[in-house]
């Protein structure tokens, strides 16, 4: 593991509609690592991720990816640098098939990512997300909620990223689907792709991630071993307030 983190966020103050919503966020993800960011609804997880992806204004702070400052570059260049993003509300390209959703990132960023064989990359995505293998030509609006989440993850994975940012990939899904998705996320991480996962349910992530951050009111309030933090009574009480906001 290199001494410099793959992703290094320092003092990130992201804003939404003119209001600051994160408070000096510090967060690191090392190459090949799986990191969790848990917090209640409205705690600032999505805004942190959107700030990293350049999708919301960053008032101050730094986001470095492989040492390069991302807050200085245009947001469409960030995926080309190697960050795949699955947004909380999936944002699939409806009216198109699963296959088209996987190919679009390759068409737009494949050259920058050094992808020569489009078909091979798409096949490698189906190799991970096996449940979608027989749904290739299905229009994405006809998929179940779990399958739609998988397509959103697969679309980000098709970039052949070094870091995959997943915003609440397990939220609102049936337990059996959650288990499948956890298996897929572990398989992705086993390919040496670093994963940064946000969840509002602290019990979901310990078995998937190596390290955990806890965010509350836009501020990181704890970090460390996932199992220890998940067992911490204060954090459990805090997380039980999930949905209250």
């Amino acid at each position: 593991m290199s001494s410099e983190p793959l992703l290094s966020v320092r003092g990130l103050n992201a804003a939404v509609e003119g209001f600051q919503v994160t408070e000096d966020i510090d967060l690191d993800v090392n190459a090949g690592e799986a990191v969790g960011l848990v917090g209640r609804n409205g705690a600032g997880k999505t805004s942190t991720f959107r700030g990293i992806m350049g999708l919301t204004p960053v008032w101050s702070g730094s986001v470095k990816f492989r040492g390069e400052e991302l807050t200085d570059i245009r947001s469409e260049l960030i995926p080309k640098r190697g960050i795949g993003y699955q947004p909380e509300d999936r944002k699939l390209f409806t009216g198109m098939t699963v296959d088209e959703n996987f190919r679009l990132p390759i068409w737009t960023s494949g050259k920058a990512r050094g992808i020569d064989d489009e078909d091979a990359v798409v096949e490698s995505v189906y190799d991970v997300l096996t449940e979608l293998d027989d749904r290739r030509n299905a229009k994405v609006q006809n998929l179940s909620g779990g399958q739609a989440k998988m397509v959103a993850i697969g679309r980000a994975l098709a970039l052949q990223p070094d870091l995959l940012i997943l915003d609440e990939p397990l939220e609102g899904l049936a337990p059996v689907v959650v288990e499948n998705l956890k298996r897929y996320i572990r398989a992705i991480n086993d390919r040496d792709i670093a994963v940064l996962i946000a969840e509002s349910n602290v019990t979901h992530v310990p078995e998937v991630v190596d390290r955990l951050y806890v965010i509350e009111r836009g501020d990181i309030i704890a970090s460390g071993d996932p199992a220890e933090l998940a067992a911490d009574e204060d954090i459990q009480k805090l997380m039980q307030g999930s949905g209250a906001e």
Binding site: M53, G54, L55, R74, S75, E76, L77, I78, P79, K80, Y85, P87, K91, F93, T94, G95, M96, E100, L104, P105, W107, T108, S109, A112, Q141, R155, L159
Partner: protein, 314 residues
């Protein structure tokens, strides 16, 4: 009023022909609206500029090659000159659209829509003055071109006396429709544009340069409007105000079809074209009102238009 079968067929064909012209204008307008979220009031002037430019290009071509002689060879040369003029005109409109988007519209995307309306209205007035400056304010008749092409017998072969130029417009219009749907359904660039229309932010998150897409879409819209102008002018004449009526009818078309829907623009354009044409025969005073009545009816029954928004249903 009794209408013979032949007259009914001719009026329907006239409507379809006008519908294809309308589609070429409205498709650009609706795609620009669907992706850039800009209602381009200058779109009718791009159509008009296409008509004037085509006349200029055609005149230049004839000046270079000399007046076509009579007979089959002369007519073929004439038709080829018209086709070349239409294509060159559309090609000229491409950079015009590119400059409009990159120089003017790009500066105001994050502002209120009122700014867009004011800016595109200003562009409309500027284009109007540019035409007046270059071509003067008298109308330019082009019926010689129309008559020359109509000497080619086409519909007579199936027992119908129908202008060949109109058949030509229907065929070219069909090819444009097929080409546009192929572009947006099958090509990578077309699908990237659709993805941008569906979710601009997510498109950015997979690496789409929205600036490039916006420029491309506006240039494509200008190309189509210019193409439509060049195709529409021979049966009529070029006048300074010729962009107004098609612009208004294009608004009707895209409201009927669904704001931003390409398929909706196609169905809406044919519907407006045929209804308008039939009203000319059945009740001429209703020609102008009929498309608006249809629009009002559809807004009452299906406020989002026949096909909803673009991108998903391209």
């Amino acid at each position: 009023m009794a209408v013979s079968a032949t007259a009914a067929l001719v009026q329907t064909l006239n409507g379809i022909q006008f519908g294809f012209i309308l589609f070429m204008i409205a498709s650009g307008l609706t795609v620009i609206l669907g992706i850039l979220d800009v209602l381009n009031l200058a779109h009718g002037e791009l159509f008009s500029l296409g008509a004037y430019t085509a006349i200029g290009v055609f005149g230049f071509i004839i000046g270079v090659i000399g007046p076509p002689g009579g007979g089959v060879v002369g007519t073929v040369v004439f038709v080829l000159a018209v086709i070349a003029a239409v294509l060159v005109t559309a090609a000229i409109l491409l950079p015009v659209g590119t400059i409009f988007e990159a120089v003017f519209l790009r500066q105001i995307y994050d502002r209120d829509q009122v700014y867009q309306l004011v800016l595109t209205f200003a562009l409309l007035l500027i284009l109007l003055d540019v035409k007046k400056f270059i071509w003067g304010d008298s109308s330019i008749r082009t019926d010689a071109v129309y008559s020359a092409i109509n000497t080619i017998p086409t519909s007579e072969l199936v027992g119908l006396n129908y202008p060949t130029y109109n058949v030509f417009v229907i065929l070219v219009g069909s090819a444009v429709v097929a080409g546009l749907f192929w572009f947006f359904e099958r090509t990578k660039t077309g699908r990237i544009i659709r993805a941008t229309a569906i979710d601009r932010e997510m498109a950015t998150a997979i690496g789409v340069s929205t600036d490039r897409v916006f420029t491309l879409v506006f240039a494509l819209g200008a190309f189509l409007a210019g193409f439509a102008g060049a195709m529409a002018v021979p049966p009529t004449s070029a006048t300074l105000e010729m962009g107004t009526n098609p612009l208004v009818l294009s608004f009707v078309v895209i409201v009927i079809g669904g704001l931003g829907s390409l398929r909706g623009a196609f169905v809406g354009a044919l519907l407006v074209g045929v209804i308008r044409s039939w009203m000319i025969t059945l009740y001429p005073p209703g020609e102008i009102a009929a498309p608006f009545a249809i629009m009002a009816l559809i807004l009452l029954v299906k406020p989002e238009g026949l096909f909803g928004t673009w991108g998903e249903t391209a």
